[in-house]
Point group: D2
Chain length 334, copies 4
Amino acid sequence: MDIKIGLIGCGVMGADHAAILHAGVAGARLVAVQDADRARAEALAALSGTAVVIGNATDLIAHTDVDAVLIAAPDPTHAPLVLACLAAGKPVLCEKPLADTAQGCRDVVEAEIAGGKRLVQVGFMRRFDPGYRALRQCVATERLGAPLMLHCIHRNKIAPDYITSDQVIANSGVHEMDIARHLLGEDFAAVTVISACPSRLMPNRQPQLLILESASGVVVSVEITPDAQYGYDVQGELVCEGGTISLAPAPPVALRHAGMDGFTVEADWRQRFAEAYRAQMVEWIGSIQTGHPAGASAWDGYMASRTAVSALEAWRTGQRVVISTEVRPDFYAP
Amino acid sequence: MDIKIGLIGCGVMGADHAAILHAGVAGARLVAVQDADRARAEALAALSGTAVVIGNATDLIAHTDVDAVLIAAPDPTHAPLVLACLAAGKPVLCEKPLADTAQGCRDVVEAEIAGGKRLVQVGFMRRFDPGYRALRQCVATERLGAPLMLHCIHRNKIAPDYITSDQVIANSGVHEMDIARHLLGEDFAAVTVISACPSRLMPNRQPQLLILESASGVVVSVEITPDAQYGYDVQGELVCEGGTISLAPAPPVALRHAGMDGFTVEADWRQRFAEAYRAQMVEWIGSIQTGHPAGASAWDGYMASRTAVSALEAWRTGQRVVISTEVRPDFYAP
Amino acid sequence: MDIKIGLIGCGVMGADHAAILHAGVAGARLVAVQDADRARAEALAALSGTAVVIGNATDLIAHTDVDAVLIAAPDPTHAPLVLACLAAGKPVLCEKPLADTAQGCRDVVEAEIAGGKRLVQVGFMRRFDPGYRALRQCVATERLGAPLMLHCIHRNKIAPDYITSDQVIANSGVHEMDIARHLLGEDFAAVTVISACPSRLMPNRQPQLLILESASGVVVSVEITPDAQYGYDVQGELVCEGGTISLAPAPPVALRHAGMDGFTVEADWRQRFAEAYRAQMVEWIGSIQTGHPAGASAWDGYMASRTAVSALEAWRTGQRVVISTEVRPDFYAP
Amino acid sequence: MDIKIGLIGCGVMGADHAAILHAGVAGARLVAVQDADRARAEALAALSGTAVVIGNATDLIAHTDVDAVLIAAPDPTHAPLVLACLAAGKPVLCEKPLADTAQGCRDVVEAEIAGGKRLVQVGFMRRFDPGYRALRQCVATERLGAPLMLHCIHRNKIAPDYITSDQVIANSGVHEMDIARHLLGEDFAAVTVISACPSRLMPNRQPQLLILESASGVVVSVEITPDAQYGYDVQGELVCEGGTISLAPAPPVALRHAGMDGFTVEADWRQRFAEAYRAQMVEWIGSIQTGHPAGASAWDGYMASRTAVSALEAWRTGQRVVISTEVRPDFYAP
């Protein structure tokens, strides 16, 4: 029997999730959609052919026909909606961030533990990207020995105008914080932030260099450039004792044209991480069927949020900030 | 309502198709499997959890619970099984080749036309590969102008012992003949074959260089090396009036290790064309739902087979062989 | 004591040779220059600071101050000038082709043998390119086993208007014929030529595909595209029993810019083969000092010319042309 | 008339310089060599064929036959020998570092200014590498806009056993400090050092991450890994307002072999920077002929040394260290 999915939020990401459910995933069916902009919800429902429109998110979560919930609504709604899913005992896949404050994440963690059942997955989709998976497997198998450094690059083509330097660190950087922690399999102990001069094209925000230090001493450099102009580009090189392994985010074709030999860089993340989004959905559906959690947990969402808070403090103070240790509850043991 | 699929042939390819149906495709369900080796069918049925084992292929095709048929049985069975599917009025996706002779293909074409309904798709999965799709789109849009040449490389790591030079041309080469015809959007007018000296590691068969000439004068070179040793490798570069576009079959990660900087080459085609196989299945299911054919038709299978026959003649005689024109029936108009 | 060089021909190639002598080569000095256009010779003499202008080529060759001669004058002058150098007993480095007919090359060979001393080097500079050297060493050491196929690509950005299809084969293709013969270490036994449709941008000449077969059965494909538009591009992949080795004509930097990730392709051959031209000069000077010949001999020039003649016949007749064996005189033993 | 060169130090680097003088540079001749190990000097003199052995460095510098001096002796001898050259009024190309302390560099600067003539070039050969030159030109022309960040990677295959973490920073890192300052065209204002855990293969020293901040706010990250195991590897990516430009240290050939597609990484720096060493020599000889200084000046050597001192302080204290401004004397204006 197919799992019946309710989707909250019918913007760009919500529509993407719906399209993935429509074609690329077995065992699930979109049955309900909701959006603050009802017309948008109706358009998506019409497109899907299988979903009804529900007027508000609370009703969607409560609806008897909805087995599991996908949250792609604005960030501030995430924590309350996830808490509502927990109250209803329904599995939920929530776009990152889990909450807009570390305390909000912590509240979700406590509610989930209190409920006694793992129901929350955070949409850190990079964990399902074939490249990052290969990096993680390389760490796990010690194929190249233990990791020593990790270099991450996160470049947006052009960020929206309203994005400020602190959001560059917290909103874009949090993806890197989660995936770096996931790859290394350990928490971070310190963070330093050094800001570059802003581009004259976008003087109100700065490219950032974050340096994270893991508990065991692996050094992670993270460049975040909000306005790289040439395209959306995510890179990663893991330096190990015996060699290095890098993401190779390669497009299907190469071009020789107009004096150049190379390939096209996409403008946004959906194409770059199309396979990751698909695999995330397949494994989320699988985790509901089997009862074995997949992907990033509420605890992972909380830890990413805590790291981002420390990074912001490092940025404001210009100091290296030590991140206090927090012990993972057994509830979240892998 | 899910489309119920019956699978004939539970070997490597059959098992792959079953796995794709299991996880990666919405709107379809494997309900029946059959194999000459019943134990193999039972193992696959157990793995799938949704399929029953049926004793022979004819019964599977006739079974009322089977809406559509997937054929992954040995080559000589293809044509008779496809004809049985046509007789039963059921959509069928048949692994290449459509038949083991051009006449066998022709028989299928005539039976399908007689039935008045497009039901046959041939498993030339490369047509669904993102790289080839980008090449075809480049031709269609004339982004780089009209095509002038196409260079194709097809290398197997090590072919099975029993493969002979004629099979290198016909069985491996037929993939290139189909995809080259598909990319260029026209039939071939001539073929030349020049054989290289055999590798001392495998003296009983020769690497082959095929040169195909399209009706409008595009020249296609095809290297087929059955024993490349280093891995399975498929390449393609389309040379157009204004530049070139190439397949970039890139793995998810790059390595710097042991004095080398590069990436791993896979040993077989399933990983290289994993996305193509998945997309082929998604679109086949979609074509059954919508009634609009997708992928390679019986006619395409017939034309590939005719080209292979001419290539074998060119190889045997050492002469350039002109391929007679055959007009595509309107029934197969795109 | 420096070797005193006289240069005949002060066009693009002559000026390049003078510049190399000026900075990059020890043990030699440009002392005399000549050109049909005296102003051009004077400009180059002024630039070099060490050379006098001489009114005609015969006088330059005869000049007592000239130890060795560099010929970069128009093709039809090559053979007579080389014969004059032989008569004068002076070492000569002559731009390719050695002569504009096979018989002209043969005449030089016979004159050189009659003189009893190896004095002629033909400017097939690719033999000094680090990439081709690595390919040749790979063949020599059998690092990847014996060669089976060689794929060569020769693309000009835009050829001059007056270049015709036969010149595409003979003048551009001859570089490939020489280097392929040099890499494989054996002569060619047959050649086939298949012409592609012309680009609409340049309807008066066709891209060509040559297939050369070596005496031992190695198959060489050669694409020659006179108007590739995107730049000057020379590629080569040698397919051996155990793997392949390819030219990697990589520029010093890569760019990520304007939606592309890649590198610049140069517009002409001087940058691509800058190191080859320099090394050719260094080794030519060294060969004069030591008396041990370097680079391509008159015999090599003759064999390249014979292959080109056969290729033109193959092109005109549309037939595979067998190239008769010619035994290398001991005089030219390596 | 050729410039007559005296070489002090006949080890690996000295022998390399002699070989370059022997073949690849016009207008200069090696006439004298000296080494603490006389046998080594004699071997090199025999090989060169043009040089005499001189018993001590002071005599070589004073020798009337020596026009200019090349210093490739151990680091602690550099400053005294350069001062002796200045006293003798002879041009000198000194391997880096100019002195083993910042004060030693300062002494050379003051002596050179007092002498009133630019005679000293420091062997920061990377400034002559085609890749770095293209990066510098990109900054100069603002082709991609102004620089925002620069990522540098410096990996040795395996450093000698006696190398300690402070030498990793000062001796290897100083190359990056000089080239980064050269590329950006400005001095550094601050430096932070974060050490990674050591490799278990080499527990006595740590890979280092340096973060340099230029006066205008460009952020430079420098990874220095002394024991990368897989080879010698230098990388650099300059992130500008409109795109990025990277070193592409590409070898002449690519390999497909044994399950890998890629290229060989060399074990040491001489091959990687062979062209840079040659060009450095050509331009040094040219600078003597013309009287216009080339390459890194004594001032550049001093500034590199000051940056290294600050980096060591940052490493020892774990603090970001501000580097005080020092105004370049007009004597060293470009």
